[in-house]
Every structure is written in structure tokens, then in C-alpha cells.
């Protein structure tokens, strides 16, 4: 196994991590501000991917596809927030889980109804097709490199939005004391809709970007959703910085676990058995990581609230 392969896998892990971050950031924001656990976040990821694939099919432009994904997911998020989610903020977690689970059923089967069961495909834009040679002689797909860049860029923009703008001040105030900022004359329900739509747009963007390297299909959101939960648990609920660190940890652990664990077991097992054991354990690696973090810090790496 060469160093080149490991370097390439580290990049893959980073790419996976930043896409998880886009999902986890929205969820952790929604939880931090509204106290809502949203299982339907994966559905918004799917909505983004389907909107992108449809728009790309109509216009042929990847940029239009991304715009469509952002718009469709934000719109779906805003509508769902105003009609259903809004009634759940004061409800118990159990009711939030059920209602958002019901939303998943409706979104998934509704999408299957409209688009059918066959996966759609979204092409990588022509300019980003093919590999690029990085310093050190690593050949790496341009598109995946672009994903890392976009993920980090969006992360920085999110930091700027929350730390440096008027709306960011309101969001942070909402996390701390929602009655107080309502008393100060800020329309809290509008703020909630905006935060939910923002989280939804991030999920939709992730769906569209990942949709170009995987197929766009019903149910694509749920595996990502659950990994995003793991990210949030590791990073600490409500913390965007935690979501970023957690996402990179999960992305790298998953990718490198798949590469290294079978190799590790080959040191003292037959190749066949080593591959089997290694890949079975690699499938569990991120959850083991989560357990370790939990034993060490029950509220996550950057979490404050229990």
C-alpha cells in the first residue's frame, strides 16, 4: 500500500466530511435555535438532489442545477416549517420524532410517486471532469477537490453569517433566550422560518453536490442523515464548530477505516478472513468512534447543553 493511496483516501475522507458538515450544520442550527430534532432533514437533501437533476436535465447547466437545488430545498423547508414544524417546537421530543418521521414517509413516497423508482443521474460539469495532479504527484478528481473547496467555503460563509451579520446576532440571541428577543421586537416566528429554510438549503446543496457522484434516488437522504446525527453527537448538539470537527472526524474515520482495517487484520489472519473481518468492523468504525467520544465527553466535543 503506497503513501499515494493513503493521501488520496485522506482527500476522499475530507470530501465526505465536508458534505456531512453541510447536513450536520443545518440540523445542529435548527436544534440549537428551535430545540427541534428534525429527522426529515434527509428528505430535504433528497429534494435538493432531485431538483438539481431535473434542472440539469432541462437547462443542461450545472450552475442552474445548484441554484434549483438551493431554491427547492429552501422553499420545501419554509413550507414544511410554516405548515407543520411550527406546531412542534413546544412538543415533546417523541412527538417531534414521530411527526418528522411521518414527513419522511410523505416526502419519500411522494417523490417515488412523481419521479418513479428508477434513479436519476446528474452529470459532473464539463469543466470539473477528469483528474488534476496535485503536488506530490497525486492524481485526484477535480470535482471532488471542488467539493472540498465548496464545503470549506460554505463553512466560512456560515461562520461569517452567524458571527458578523444582523441575522446572525438574532440567531445567536434566539439560541440563548427566545422570549427576550421576542420582547425586543424581533419577529421570532419569521426568524425560525429563516433558520429552517437556511438549514434546508444547506442540505439541498449537499444533496445536489453529492448527487453528481452518486445516483439521485429515493431514500438517498437517510444514510447521510444518520451519519449527520453521529457527527452532531460527536461535535456537541447546537455547535457549528463541533459539527465541522465532527464531520471531518467521521469522514476520515469511515474512509480510512475501510482502507486500513482489512490491511491491519492481514497482519495476523488469512487474506480472506482478514478482508471479511476488516470490512465488517470498518462498517462499525464511526459508531465506535461515537461511543468513545460519549464515554469521554457525554455532551460531545464542543457541546454545552445536556
Amino acid at each position: 500500500m503506497s503513501l499515494l493511496l493513503i493521501a488520496e483516501q485522506i482527500l476522499n475522507g475530507l470530501q465526505f466530511g465536508v458534505m456531512l458538515f453541510l447536513m450536520a450544520a443545518g440540523m445542529t442550527l435548527i436544534f440549537g435555535v428551535m430545540g427541534l430534532i428534525n429527522l426529515a432533514h434527509g428528505s430535504l437533501y433528497m429534494v435538493g438532489a432531485f431538483a438539481a437533476a431535473t434542472a440539469a436535465g432541462l437547462t443542461g447547466s450545472f450552475l442552474m442545477a445548484l441554484v434549483a437545488a438551493l431554491a427547492a430545498a429552501a422553499l420545501a423547508g419554509a413550507i414544511v416549517e410554516m405548515t407543520i414544524i411550527r406546531r412542534l417546537y413546544k412538543a415533546a421530543h417523541l412527538e417531534q420524532v414521530l411527526a418528522t418521521f411521518a414527513l419522511i414517509l410523505i416526502f419519500s413516497e411522494g417523490t417515488r410517486w412523481v419521479f418513479g423508482s428508477f434513479p436519476l443521474y446528474l452529470d459532473i460539469p464539463a469543466g470539473l471532469n477528469g483528474p488534476v495532479t496535485l503536488p506530490g504527484g497525486i492524481e485526484y478528481p477535480k470535482y471532488r477537490l471542488a467539493l472540498i473547496g465548496i464545503g470549506i467555503g460554505v463553512g466560512l460563509m456560515l461562520w461569517w453569517l452567524i458571527e458578523r451579520t444582523q441575522i446572525g446576532v438574532q440567531i445567536r440571541a434566539g439560541e440563548n433566550d427566545r422570549e427576550m428577543i421576542a420582547a425586543l421586537g424581533i419577529d421570532i416566528s419569521k426568524l425560525y422560518t429563516v433558520v429552517f429554510a437556511l438549514g434546508a438549503a444547506l442540505a439541498g446543496l449537499a444533496g445536489a453536490l453529492v448527487g453528481a457522484i452518486q445516483s439521485v434516488q429515493v431514500g438517498m437522504g437517510e444514510p447521510v442523515l444518520i451519519l449527520a446525527f453521529v457527527v452532531i453527537v460527536i461535535g456537541g448538539i447546537g455547535s457549528i464548530r463541533g459539527a465541522f470537527v465532527g464531520a471531518l472526524l467521521v469522514g476520515l474515520t469511515d474512509t480510512l477505516g475501510r482502507l486500513l482495517l482489512p490491511q491491519f487484520f492481514r497482519l495476523f489472519m488469512e487474506a480472506d478472513a482478514a478482508n471479511q473481518t476488516g470490512s465488517a468492523l470498518a462498517a462499525m468504525s464511526v459508531y465506535v468512534l461515537m461511543s468513545i467520544v460519549l464515554i469521554w465527553r457525554p455532551t460531545g466535543l464542543f457541546g454545552v447543553r445536556a
Partner: protein, 327 residues
């Protein structure tokens, strides 16, 4: 308004009566549906101990359902292949005997519930939900990549396992076994809820700090509840695998964990018969709506939303006019 007691008897009479009538008019498929409802109800009765009494919103109970299923699958697989199951230094022969499979399924599920519970009951609220979901998912991916027992394709068992003195291939007899186990689990649930342990557990759901101030440890109570709960759901998993003569990673899927919670909510959280009513309704809806449209999950989702937003207390809450159970 009806008394909950009366509703309970009507429900059990229906669940027992429908397969008996179906047997007389020779409708084996109806008996299979009733068996499925009884097994799902059993799984949800298990979850109801953690969720209804202990307030532990476990979104990973499919883990125990799947473990029960795989215990049955693996033991029966080795029995039908006449191969030994090697667990490190231990060598175990496979078996086709239901009682042994049930006990093993419950023991393994309880062990896993102890490990998962130990890691999770210290957390509360959303953390607990997310972490149980994640652990459930861990088993799902493990079963997919574990190729020795079928991996993604699952594992088929040729002949249903046996129970001494019964012919389990006869649908009604297998239903009888499942129904008896369900009654037993309901008895356990009722006794547990009324016991000092159950009362303390109930109290630690409502006011954990007060329980602590009178000298009990809420975490320990919750852990014990979680283990009992996991064992019962594991038993249901073994029966479910036997009903289908097939196990696959689908039994570990998180949708199934969600559906188990749905069953309880539809019937009524913390109610003795909540899971039974929920399971009956779920199987009916699946069969009836599923026959009308391929997209029946949309309507299930809509019904669920309606229950959560407007009809708290589920079916029993609606019929008795009381949102929560009287404890």
C-alpha cells in the same frame, strides 16, 4: 367513553377470534396477518417498557429485533447445514428447537441492550434518540458487510423451527404460540408497571431529580428497563424471522425502529394494549392501503401526522377520553 379495561378485552378477543374464524373458513393468509400483528405487538410491548414507562425514546430498537432474528437464523442455519458454530474457543451445535432459540435470542438481545444501555442511559433527550438510532444503524451496516451469513441478501431457513408437541407448520398453531408469548409479555408489562420498580421507573421519567433525592438512581432503573425491553423485542425478532423463514439486514433498518414507535403511538403510549391496537391497525393499514396503492406510506405518514398534531393519546386515548394512562 369506554373504560380501558373493556377495550383491552375486546382487542384481545378480536386478535384471538379472527384467526380462529379464519381457520374455520380456511383463510390461512388471514391467520398469517394476525400472526404478524401479534409478533409486531410483542416487539412493541418490549419497546413500551422503555418508552411508555421509562420515557426512553429509543429509535434503535430494531437492533434487538434484528439480533433476535439473526440468532434464530444463525442457529437454524447451522442446524440445517449440520455444521458447528465456532465462537472462539466455544463450539456450539445449531438447533431447530424454538424454546432454545427463544432463550438464546433473549439472552443475546439482553446482553447487547446492557452494552448499548450502559452507553446511552446517561444521556437524555435528543442525545438519547440520536445515539440509539446510530447504534441501530451500526448493526444494520455490520449485518450487510458480514458475508458469512448472507450479508445483504439475508439468510433463508428451509423449514420453520419446531416446538415440542406442536406442528408449527400449521398456521393456527404457530399463531397460538405467538399469541401465548404476547399474553405472557403483556402480563410481564402489567406486573412490572404496578411493581415498586415500575413505579420508580415511572417516577424517573417524570421527575428524575426527585427520584435521585429519595436515594434511587434513575440511570440504573432506566438501564434495567432498557435490558428487559431489549430482550422482549429480541424474542419478537426471533418469531418474526420464523414467520418469514428469512432474516435479512432489513430487520435492523431504522425504519423498523420508527415503525415500532408508531405502533405504540397509534395505540396509546404507556397503555397496556397500546402496542396491540397499534400493531393490529398497522397490519390492517398495510394490507388494505397497500392493496389500494403502491404508495401507501404517504397515507400512513398523513395519518401519523394527524395523530401527532391533533389526536394525542392514540386510539385508546380517543376511546377513553383520557390522554395519558392512569398510573
Amino acid at each position: 367513553m369506554m373504560a380501558e379495561r373493556h377495550i383491552n378485552w375486546v382487542v384481545m378477543a378480536l386478535l384471538l377470534g379472527i384467526p380462529l374464524i379464519a381457520h374455520m373458513v380456511d383463510q390461512p393468509f388471514t391467520i398469517t396477518l394476525a400472526t404478524k400483528a401479534a409478533i409486531l405487538a410483542l416487539a412493541a410491548v418490549g419497546l413500551n417498557i422503555a418508552l411508555g414507562i421509562g420515557g426512553l425514546v429509543s429509535l434503535g430498537h430494531a437492533a434487538f429485533f434484528g439480533i433476535g432474528g439473526y440468532v434464530m437464523g444463525i442457529l437454524a442455519f447451522h442446524a440445517q447445514n449440520f455444521s458447528a458454530l465456532e465462537l472462539g474457543p466455544l463450539t456450539i451445535a445449531g438447533t431447530k428447537s424454538m424454546p432454545i432459540i427463544w432463550i438464546t435470542a433473549m439472552a443475546v438481545s439482553a446482553l447487547m441492550a446492557a452494552i448499548i444501555g450502559w452507553l446511552t442511559v446517561r444521556t437524555t433527550g435528543v442525545y438519547f434518540i440520536m445515539i440509539t438510532l446510530a447504534f441501530g444503524q451500526m448493526f444494520f451496516y455490520f449485518s450487510i458487510s458480514w458475508s458469512a451469513y448472507g450479508g445483504e441478501d439475508g439468510l433463508s431457513i428451509w423449514v420453520r423451527n419446531g416446538f415440542p408437541g406442536l406442528n408449527t407448520l400449521v398456521p393456527l398453531q404457530f399463531f397460538g404460540l405467538c399469541f401465548a408469548l404476547l399474553c405472557l409479555a403483556l402480563l410481564v408489562f402489567a406486573r412490572l408497571r404496578a411493581s415498586p420498580f415500575g413505579l420508580a421507573l415511572n417516577a424517573s421519567r417524570q421527575a428524575a431529580q426527585r427520584v435521585q433525592t429519595v436515594g434511587m438512581t434513575p440511570q440504573r432503573l432506566k438501564l434495567v428497563a432498557f435490558i428487559i425491553s431489549g430482550a422482549i423485542t429480541g424474542l419478537a425478532g426471533a418469531l418474526f424471522a420464523d414467520l418469514n423463514r428469512f432474516v435479512s439486514p432489513v430487520m435492523f433498518s431504522w425504519q423498523l425502529s420508527g415503525e415500532l414507535i408508531i405502533l405504540i403511538i397509534m395505540g396509546g403510549v404507556g397503555r397496556l394494549m397500546g402496542p396491540v391496537i397499534g400493531a393490529g391497525l398497522f397490519v390492517l393499514l398495510e394490507h388494505w392501503l397497500g392493496g389500494l396503492t403502491d404508495f401507501w406510506h404517504v397515507w400512513l405518514g398523513a395519518i401519523l401526522l394527524g395523530i401527532v398534531l391533533f389526536g394525542r393519546g392514540g386510539v385508546i386515548g380517543f376511546l377513553t377520553g383520557k390522554e395519558g394512562p392512569h398510573v
